[in-house]
């Protein structure tokens, strides 16, 4: 069990040999504003204490003051590297509260875009993780492909990052012409690009030296400390919510869940790289048979009407006015919806009291829980390994602090 110490220790360290070192919140390898307090003996870490909260913006409190549909753009900002996964998790939770049925076309597009988000998020992780350890060029290669995914997001939603494309009851818009072609082109090219990254890293002796047997996490510790996602699977626990507790139609697609039993930084690297290939495979399968049909549920009191109908039909105009000005009431109850985000189990716990505003929205952020495993990985190791360890758990501070 990791020990947590006072967040503001003084420099009169207890032993004659140890001193306290402040790493962050401006350190470039802490991926944002993470502050780590290290008690060190020479270059060996004796104790470690993560200090978080620098990015706390009170998103959960803000959600309570908004209508249900107005909270969707807020969820983009929680984990800004996978906005669509946040959208998906929130809208699934509200749809379960409402008991809404989502048309198959919307579900397929949700799966497709969600997997593209996973690829984009893993590409940022791979690039920044490699640059932390000293492999500069990988970053440039990764961002080349990420740009392609960002262009696809821009096509569907008009935004590169803060997409808000999934709405309660379906999707915001029908995807534009040419979007499927762009995805098809990307899917065809991407596996060879992953080969390129692997050529640069996987058998590179310096990379292996810096990552193998570094920041070991045993499967028992990983479960006890609440780690999820690739961090947990790299320690040998075989769980993926997409396969084991499917949502939004993932049961229709075939994919492998990569796991590793080594539990070190290299294992987490391999798991994520293979996940990118599997995600690409899922996107390829979704392309093959996107069903025709509506992209929004048939629920006029909840889903905004089409622009065209609004201008020609009286009822549509009334519904539009009602939804925008008064929101829609959601039956009282509570739901915990979990999805597999690129970082692990992302859960939205939404409580309704029957009014048009959520009574409580809580986000179970995977990075927040994964961060608790960091001291266990690093204590007794060298300072230089901390940089590799932070990169390997892939934290996003916007999500840790919310």
């Amino acid at each position: 069990m990791p020990q947590m110490f006072t967040p503001t220790p003084t420099l009169d360290a207890t032993g004659p040999r140890t001193m306290t070192l402040n790493m962050g919140p401006q350190h470039p390898s802490t991926h944002g504003v993470l502050r780590l307090l290290l008690e060190i003996d020479g270059e060996t870490i004796v104790r470690m204490m993560p200090d978080i909260g620098f990015l706390h913006t009170g998103i959960e409190k803000t959600c309570e003051a908004k209508f249900y549909q107005q909270a969707v753009p807020l969820t983009d900002r929680i984990d800004y590297l996978c906005p669509l996964t946040n959208n998906l998790c929130y809208v699934l939770a509200v749809e379960r509260l409402l008991g809404l049925e989502i048309p198959p076309r919307a579900q397929w597009l949700r799966v497709m875009l969600n997997e593209l988000t996973r690829i984009a998020s893993h590409l940022v992780w791979l690039g920044s993780h490699a640059i932390d350890i000293g492999a500069m060029s990988v970053f440039l290669y990764c961002f080349r492909e990420r740009e392609d995914v960002m262009r696809i997001f821009e096509m569907v939603s008009g935004q590169r990052m803060m997409t808000s494309y999934f709405r309660i009851g379906g999707l915001a818009l029908e995807p534009p012409l040419g979007m499927f072609d762009a995805v098809r082109k990307f899917v065809k090219r991407f596996p060879s690009r992953v080969d390129e990254y692997e050529n640069l890293l996987t058998t590179n002796p310096i990379w292996m030296e810096r990552t193998k047997k570094v920041a070991y996490l045993s499967p028992e510790d990983a479960v006890a400390l609440g780690a999820t996602g690739p961090t947990l699977r790299a320690s040998g626990i075989d769980i993926d919510l997409r396969r084991d507790m499917p949502y939004t139609g993932y049961e229709k697609f075939k994919f492998k869940v990569p796991i590793s039993h080594d539990g070190d930084v290299f294992a987490r690297y391999m798991v994520r790289v293979q996940e990118m290939r599997q995600s690409n495979e899922i996107v390829r399968q979704t392309l093959e048979g996107v069903p025709e049909g509506p992209i929004k549920a048939d629920a006029p009191k909840i889903v905004l009407p089409d622009r065209e109908k609004m201008k020609t039909q009286m009822e549509a105009l009334i519904y539009h006015f009602k939804i925008v000005t008064e929101g829609f009431p959601v039956p009282a109850g509570e739901v915990y919806q979990a999805v597999e985000s690129p970082r692990g189990e992302m859960g939205y716990y939404v409580v309704s009291d029957g009014s048009p505003k959520p009574y409580r929205v809580h986000v179970r952020a995977p990075s927040f829980a994964n961060l608790q495993a960091l001291p266990t990985m690093c204590e007794g190791r060298l300072i230089a390994d901390v940089v590799a360890a932070i990169g390997s758990i892939d934290i996003v501070l916007g999500e840790v602090d919310r």
């Binding site: 069990m1 990791p2 020990q3 947590m4 110490f5 006072t6 967040p7 503001t8 978080i52 909260g53 706390h56 009170g58 959960e60 409190k61 803000t62 309570e64 003051a65 379960r96 509260l97 409402l98 008991g99 049925e101 479960v223 006890a224 400390l225 609440g226 626990i237 769980i239 084991d244 507790m245 039956p331 109850g333 509570e334 739901v335 915990y336 979990a338 189990e345 859960g347 716990y349 409580v351 009574y359 409580r360 809580h362 179970r364 927040f368 829980a369 961060l371 608790q372 602090d401 919310r402």
Partner: protein, 165 residues
Amino acid sequence: MPLAPAITDLEQLKERPPLARLLGWDADAVEAAKFDRDELTIVVKRPAIRQACALLRDDPALQFNFLADITGVDWYPSEPRFEVVYHLLSIPRHQRLRLKVRLAGDDPSLESITSVWPSANFFEREVYDLFGVRFSGHPNLRRIMMPEDWDGHPLRKDYPVEGYR
């Protein structure tokens, strides 16, 4: 799919394995139960929470070995004011369970479960920070999101959304 009405009758639910296990251990520990939208919720009395968690984790037939989340809900001004909500996951059996503890507004405190799951550490600190619920036996119960010298607990319903000006 229209919503099925929630089942809140303890008699109808007592066959469900997690609830049966808790009732078999101590029938007084269970305050209420609910099955709604495919999710089972068990409201546990305050003194029993740590042992209930340990029991559900160690039972070979249930194996709720993973603590997914802890959070709170403030039902101000009604009493009991606070709910502390635990989400458990069984990794081998792919099942979820929600435990709840209800707390009165004048004494929001309960036992920490960090001895059962070390991962409860950050989650309980967050609930303490944002709701002011105290966890006895927690190794480092300090604010985690807000600054050390902050007044008040922002997620309480009597705390204004814009903050105190």
